[in-house]
């Protein structure tokens, strides 16, 4: 089973790394619980998981905002807590909450980014804002929520960062804007040879843009696979559809769109065209994995690290 799902670390080098990372907040909340993760250089990785899974916490650890309680994180091998400037130099981060200055215009924000970050290139930012018809002279306070998110993303693009860490960048965008943004992101990443990790609850769009899927649940890593593999290795059917002995394993059972109970199956290639099962969508893979992580039974499939 292990062979089915392997992390593909390009060039053996990871843009972002997590080693046995645990984070316990004051008050005892265990946000991360032993995360091992490598985000390979050049990949666009989707980080998904239910609310409170620890996605934002992990991202904040990479930008040096949260210090892991144990374990370590690295950005191109740099510990962001020890050498924050060097790590931040390589990161373009967008936080989950829009955080623009009230009373400053969009153009002011572009100027601010230029004054704060040496090497900031206003070109891509302006171009993106222009495409979106967001007026540079508008006070950001009066922008819609989605427009504010767009400004944050446009600013991140101007950093020409080596790795983009985007915390739910799609959440408040309209469907067209989501698609467009992902195209822009993919172009930017490909053009600069960069890497991106984005957390999202919107599955349909990331399927096209991302090449890697990491699922977190309850502070643990549940899945970490190339997206194509995630889809090809799973199939969906009813719980009774296949006997376990047939080489397929049930992963988790979740409600279908019409209230029916669906089961995600992990199938070896030789069983891939079993008529009792149909191909799984990425959303179904995630639903099945999340259901498995929630049920008392531990997931049956291997978890590469």
């Amino acid at each position: 089973m292990e062979a089915l799902i392997q992390p593909s670390v390009v060039d053996g080098k990871a843009a972002l790394q997590a080693r046995a990372v645990a984070k316990r907040y004051r008050g005892g909340v265990r946000a991360l619980d032993g995360i091992d993760l490598d985000i390979p250089v050049g990949s666009i990785c989707a980080l998904v998981g239910p609310n409170g899974a620890g996605k934002s916490t992990l991202m904040k650890a990479w930008v040096g905002f949260e210090r892991p309680s144990s374990g370590s994180v690295a950005v191109f091998g740099i510990n962001p807590w020890r050498n924050r400037p060097a790590a931040l130099d390589r990161i373009g981060y967008v936080s989950q909450k829009p955080s623009l200055y009230r009373g400053l215009t969009v153009a002011d924000h572009v100027a601010l980014a230029g004054s704060l970050r040496s090497g900031f290139d206003p070109g891509p930012t302006r171009r993106r804002l222009d495409e979106l018809a967001i007026p540079l002279g508008q006070d950001t306070r009066t922008l819609s929520g989605g427009q504010q998110a767009q400004v944050m993303l446009a600013l991140a693009l101007g950093t020409h960062a080596q790795v983009f860490v985007l915390d739910e960048p799609l959440a408040s965008l309209d469907p067209l804007a989501r698609r467009e943004f992902l195209h822009v992101l993919v172009d930017a990443v490909r053009a600069d040879g960069a890497t991106a990790v984005l957390s999202s609850h919107v599955i349909t769009d990331i399927e096209q843009a991302c090449d890697r899927l990491v699922v977190l649940g309850g502070g643990r890593k549940i899945l970490d696979v190339p997206i194509a593999e995630a889809i090809s290795s799973h199939r969906v059917g009813t719980a009774e559809a296949l006997p376990e002995t047939a080489g397929a394993q049930p992963v988790g059972t979740f409600p279908g769109p019409f209230g029916e109970r669906l089961t995600l199956w992990l199938v070896p290639p030789e069983r891939a065209d079993d008529p009792a099962l149909r191909g799984a969508t990425l959303e179904e893979v995630i639903l099945g994995q999340l259901a498995a992580s929630r049920s008392p039974r531990t997931p049956t499939q291997g978890q590469p690290s």
């Binding site: 904040k60 930008v63 905002f65 949260e66 924050r84 400037p85 060097a86 931040l88 130099d89 990161i91 373009g92 981060y93 936080s95 909450k97 829009p98 955080s99 623009l100 200055y101 009230r102 009373g103 400053l104 002011d108 100027a111 601010l112 980014a113 230029g114 004054s115 704060l116 970050r117 040496s118 900031f120 944050m152 600013l155 950093t159």
Partner: protein
């Protein structure tokens, strides 16, 4: 740098406008009262004693008979009008002392506290490689602008002081010494830096305002306490007649035994003196003792201001460093 200054001014425009308007209003009111006092200043013939202030001139009766008996009445009338404006000046100057403190709090808590509260710290701290540069740039620039704006009322307070005591150089007088001149600016900056640190620790503006107010009052009390302890080391004994409560800091009034040269407190002298009409005999005391006062002479005012400015300056550096430590180590929300 020009962009940074422009954006800082724009970010804090409401604070800066409010503070500037308050300072302009204060300076304007002080200059207005100055012109009133100047217009009401007692004419030469009413200044019976050149060595004492106009207020005291009002209370002092001429030692020699004045040729024109109506002069005393008209002088009293003028002195009453003067004293009226002088009292208003005193009230204004106390408000003037509160102004830098309030201004320092208002803008101090915003420098880091508001960034944390509104989440913009997270944007700035990832765009900028160095939180240290981010923090020092804004803390120093905003502080410099605040200091510059506060210079105006601190300067006009000195002018008003001069109008209130026209015969005295405010640069060598301790009268209202703590609520005018550079000390006023420094107290504003002290409060400002307390606000910066509190805002950085608390991360919320409103609670930071309240905490800063309390801390600033404590700091100012401690500062005044320390200053007056230190000032007492500058004190020297002088003939009592040559010291003035409106110029010097008079710490003690005693007697010096003419025979031994020793300082004796008033109680002992009164007890030692023969009793006349149920009280100590003044003539006997005058014959044996000189009345002396332990004073910090007004001429030391400049030195005291320099030391106060230096002490607050050192405190500012410490607070600035503390703020830096907090900014570097805290999470941005």
């Amino acid at each position: 740098m020009r962009t940074t200054i422009r954006l800082l001014l724009k970010t804090y425009r409401f604070e800066f406008i409010a503070i500037t308007l308050a300072c302009l209003a204060m300076a304007g009111a002080e200059l207005y009262l100055t012109s009133r006092l100047d217009a009401l200043a007692l004419p030469k013939e009413c200044q019976f004693d050149q060595n004492i202030s106009v207020e005291q001139g009002f209370a002092t009766q001429p030692e020699e008979p004045v040729s024109d008996p109506t002069l005393v009445d008209s002088c009293q009338e003028k002195a009453i009008a003067f004293s009226d404006s002088d009292q208003r000046s005193a009230v204004l100057m106390s408000f003037g002392a509160a102004l830098p403190v309030l201004a320092g709090i208002l803008i101090g808590v915003a420098v880091v506290g508001r960034e944390l509260e509104t989440g913009t710290a997270s944007l700035a701290w990832t765009l900028s490689r160095s939180r240290r540069r981010w923090y020092l740039t804004r803390a120093l620039l905003v502080g410099a602008i605040l200091g510059g704006v506060l210079l105006l009322p601190s300067f006009t307070a000195n002018i008003l002081e001069h109008a209130r005591q026209p015969l005295i150089d405010p640069g060598s007088s301790f009268n209202d010494g703590g609520i005018r001149g550079p000390v006023l600016v420094m107290l504003g900056l002290l409060t400002y830096s307390i606000g910066v640190v509190t805002g950085a620790v608390v991360g919320r503006q409103l609670p930071a305002v309240i905490i800063t107010l309390a801390l600033a009052l404590l700091a100012i009390l401690a500062f005044e306490n320390g200053v007056s302890r230190w000032e007492s080391t500058l004190a020297e004994w002088q003939p009592a007649a040559s010291s003035s409560y409106s110029i010097d800091i008079v710490l003690e009034q005693d007697y010096r035994d003419r025979a031994s040269g020793l300082i004796v407190d008033q109680g002992s002298v009164f007890n030692a003196a023969p009793q006349v009409d149920g009280g100590p005999d003044g003539a006997w005391i005058d014959a044996h003792y000189d009345s002396v006062a332990l004073v910090v002479p007004g001429s030391r005012y400049g030195d005291v201001v320099a030391v106060e400015t230096g002490a607050i300056g050192a405190a500012l550096l410490v607070l600035l460093g503390l703020g830096l430590f907090v900014v570097i180590h805290r999470r941005p929300d």
